[in-house]
């Protein structure tokens, strides 16, 4: 029987996993808006709006679930992260606010139409696109900083305390990787969301390119762990489980590329999602049992009376929620997934 702390930590990683697969892809779709400005971009924007419109708010809640698990079950880790990573977290929040507002303003403007036309000033497309880019970058930087051990560094100067924890090659590499990863997921998902062969070709091409980009960036991040995140390096390269995870991750990504190039779009969806999850879980496994390398572990947790209630509410909440979520996705995505295109 695994310990309470381990189960709650697994729930935390689970919430982050869902956030990456669903919320992350919403941000990724926003990133592709960068390439869909002006009148020519209208069908692409319409596709993006239609794909994320009904679901982005629900997908976003996974982040809140993750934060609540963190501050309820692991208050010392939440405290360290909040203090040392204040700056990237604040930028991330600004990104979250701008993304949500810009999306709502542009799609729910009184003059907006389902074909991607908006009566709101076009600046909102840009705000939506750039905030969709910045937010996952900052979240990636935060996760990279947590993994690097820099958040536990010295606190003698203001720079050491609040800047150096995240301003380094490894955290930034993880930030770029996270951004590429969500853009890749979005491109893969968007292929099937469209019924226009032109758009499907476009997003398939983008998916392949961003997929290759993800592999290169993941390799760079892995290379940088040697100096930038020694515990992660040890976990991934130094243990059999870590090496097996890396091989599985690489195979999953290559298989996804193959599926994309042979237009097996549904299979590509699952393989791309699996590859993204493999990267996240590889990080989580190699960091175990640390929550913040190398000072706070999952055993620096709230008392068991709290974990009891938290676990009970997570289980009950999930039992209640999963049918609702299924209903939501089935309602808006059911026809997309059931009939295959070309």
């Amino acid at each position: 029987m695994p310990s309470y702390e381990l189960i709650v930590a697994a729930a935390l990683v689970g919430a982050l996993t869902f956030y990456l697969l669903f919320g992350g892809a919403d941000f990724g779709a926003g990133i592709w808006t960068l390439f869909a400005m002006g009148r020519q971009g209208q069908p692409q924007r319409a596709l993006i709006d239609q794909a994320i419109g009904p679901i982005w708010e629900a997908n976003h809640v996974w982040l809140i679930i993750a934060v609540v698990i963190l501050f309820t079950a692991f208050p010392p880790a939440f405290s360290v992260i909040s203090i040392r990573l204040h700056i990237p977290l604040t930028v991330m929040l600004i990104g979250i606010v701008l993304r949500g507002t810009a999306f709502a303003i542009r799609t729910h403007d009184i003059a907006s139409r389902p074909d991607g036309f908006t009566g709101a000033p076009p600046i909102w497309h840009r705000i939506f696109a750039w905030s969709s880019l910045i937010t996952p970058t900052m979240l990636g930087i935060v996760l990279g900083a947590i993994a690097s051990g820099r958040a536990s560094g010295p606190t003698d100067t203001i720079r050491q305390t609040f800047v150096e924890p995240w301003l380094g090659r490894f955290p930034i590499a993880v930030g770029v990787l996270a951004t590429a990863l969500v853009a890749y997921l979005a491109a893969v998902y968007l292929i099937m969301e469209s019924s226009d062969p032109e758009l499907r070709r476009l997003f398939r091409r983008r998916a392949v390119m961003s997929g290759i980009f993800v592999i290169v960036l993941a390799a760079i991040a892995l290379f940088l762990t040697h100096d930038g995140a020694p515990e992660i390096y040890r976990g991934l390269v130094g243990t059999a489980l870590g090496r097996a995870t890396m091989v599985a991750t690489a195979l999953m990504h290559l298989a996804a590329l193959w599926a994309l190039m042979t237009a097996r779009d549904l299979l590509a969806r699952f393989l791309a999602g699996g590859g993204a999850v493999a990267i996240l879980w590889g990080w989580a496994l190699s960091q175990y049992p640390y929550l913040v390398e190398p000072s706070v572990t999952i055993y620096d947790a709230a008392p068991h009376s709290t974990l009891d209630i938290l676990l009970a509410s997570l289980v009950l909440g999930s039992i209640l929620l999963l049918p609702f979520l299924y209903y939501l996705y089935n309602l808006f995505k059911g026809d997309v997934l059931s009939h295959r295109h070309g």
Binding site: T72, P75, F78, I94, I96, T101, I309
Partner: protein
């Protein structure tokens, strides 16, 4: 430059003050939309469907802003008050956990509601609206219960300065929670109802022949008026609870500097802390003792019973309390006027009433902001009453005025944008008469 503590408090106050507007609208707008949809299902009158659809279009923007500004708050708890969360997390975290699931339910059914008009049967759509309203209400209950806990912490022991024997179920049944959540929920419905009523009163003044605005006005007045009438009762309940648990806050609300048997109720006025007097006040003799304890000579502890270091800012708390009470009384009064006119079947014809409704449209939200100031500023200097001072909880991060100014500018901008976007929805209503629009959509 302002101190980091002040910057931190300002940023938190501003974030909450911004979010609370959208949260309140997010609770009550679905109820209003569901009401219109229910009328449509009952009567088959397409006007009601048209109303529900128009309301839901504007609400979509409000919801998005509410969702993201709420996310900011969940992070700011740690970004600004890490030592608070380190202690409070294990005790009140489960409340936030359930709030998270309530919010999740709300987000799911909101998506279904906003985008599902033509995808699901009308009854299922109506039900989705009800679930949005119910889960928004549940969210508010959990969050306000956390606030109740900060006002009177329960569910743990302090041994050697450490939080131990955590019993996280205890805050769920907090003695304050019932009064505070009731007060907040009534306020949310009253404020939203009055805002919507004001908008439709304005439109009715300009376009008296438009069929939509009168039924809209009546529904908004029901959603806003009933709670506005009930609110004084709930205010009385909560005042008694504050008197029991937070005598310093109550004394500041009433600017009661000296403990008195037979304390007066002080209306309006400017408290002068240095001289310990209240200038320009209207005094109801023995009113406070009578209201709180039902006895004209009951003793009400004043600020003299509280160490000077533990005084909340008296002037701010007192003035905010007066503003809240004044708004509440006016809203209750306008509700009585409106129901009398409705009874005479002259609701849409009384132009002075309509003008009054336009003028009182923002009062509910002013009252909510003022009430939030009363509960938060009135608890100072404590972040957790009697346990942790706000100054001890603030983050060591320097230069906090930078995020404070950034978020202020951002929220100011967004407030302007939201008002502009909602105004576009209202303006579109004015250009098209409903008949034209229905015909245009049919073709």
């Amino acid at each position: 430059m302002m101190s980091d503590l002040l910057a931190s408090r300002s940023q938190m106050a501003m974030s909450l003050g911004f979010h609370i507007v959208f949260a309140a609208l997010g609770i009550a707008m679905p109820a209003l939309m569901a009401m219109a949809e229910w009328r449509w299902l009952k009567t088959g009158n397409e006007d009601y469907l048209e109303l529900a659809k128009r309301w839901s279009k504007g609400t979509a923007i409000l919801f998005a802003v509410g969702a993201v500004s709420g996310t900011v708050l969940s992070f700011e708890l740690g970004l600004l008050w890490p030592s608070f969360m380190e202690r409070a997390g294990p005790v009140i975290g489960p409340l936030f956990g359930l709030e998270g699931f309530a919010f999740f339910t709300e987000a799911i059914f909101l998506g279904i509601y906003l985008y599902g008009w033509s995808r699901i049967p009308p009854r299922a759509h109506f039900l989705a609206g009800l679930i949005v309203a119910a889960s928004g209400t549940a969210s508010a209950m959990f969050v306000v219960t956390v606030n109740a806990w900060m006002n009177a912490p329960t569910g743990f022991d302090i041994i050697d300065g450490r939080v131990t024997n955590v019993r996280p179920l205890v805050p769920f049944l907090h003695p304050f929670a019932f009064h505070e959540t009731l007060h907040m929920l009534l306020a949310a419905f009253a404020a939203t109802g009055f805002l919507v009523a004001g908008i439709h009163a304005f439109l009715l003044l300009r376009y008296p022949s438009n069929r939509l605005h009168k039924p809209a006005l009546i529904m908004a007045l029901i959603v806003g008026g009933v709670p506005a009438i009930l609110q004084p009762v709930s205010g009385d309940l909560i005042a008694r609870a504050v008197a029991d648990h937070q005598p310093a806050k109550l004394a500041a609300m009433e600017a009661l500097f000296v403990t008195e048997a037979g304390a007066d109720f002080v209306l309006f006025g400017l408290p002068d802390v240095a001289r310990q007097t209240v200038d320009y006040a209207v005094v109801i003799p023995r009113g406070l003792s009578l209201l709180l304890h039902g006895h004209p000579h009951a003793v009400v502890p004043g600020l003299d019973r509280i160490p000077r270091l533990d005084w909340p800012p008296v002037a701010v708390t007192h003035i905010a309390f007066q503003v809240m009470v004044a708004c509440g009384i006016i809203m209750a009064g306008v509700t009585i006027w409106a129901s009398w006119r409705w009874w005479n079947n002259q609701l849409g014809e009384d132009r002075w009433l309509l003008r009054m409704l336009v003028a009182t449209a923002p009062l509910g939200f002013i009252a909510i902001e003022a009430g939030w100031v009363v509960t938060e500023v009135g608890r100072q200097p404590w972040i957790i009453q009697g346990l942790l001072r706000t100054s001890q909880a603030v983050t060591p991060m320097p230069g906090l005025w930078i995020p404070m100014v950034t978020f202020s500018a951002l929220y100011l901008l967004l407030a302007g944008v939201v008002v502009w976007a909602i105004w576009r929805h209202i303006a579109a209503t004015m250009v098209l008469a409903p008949d034209q629009e229905v015909r245009r959509e049919a073709t």
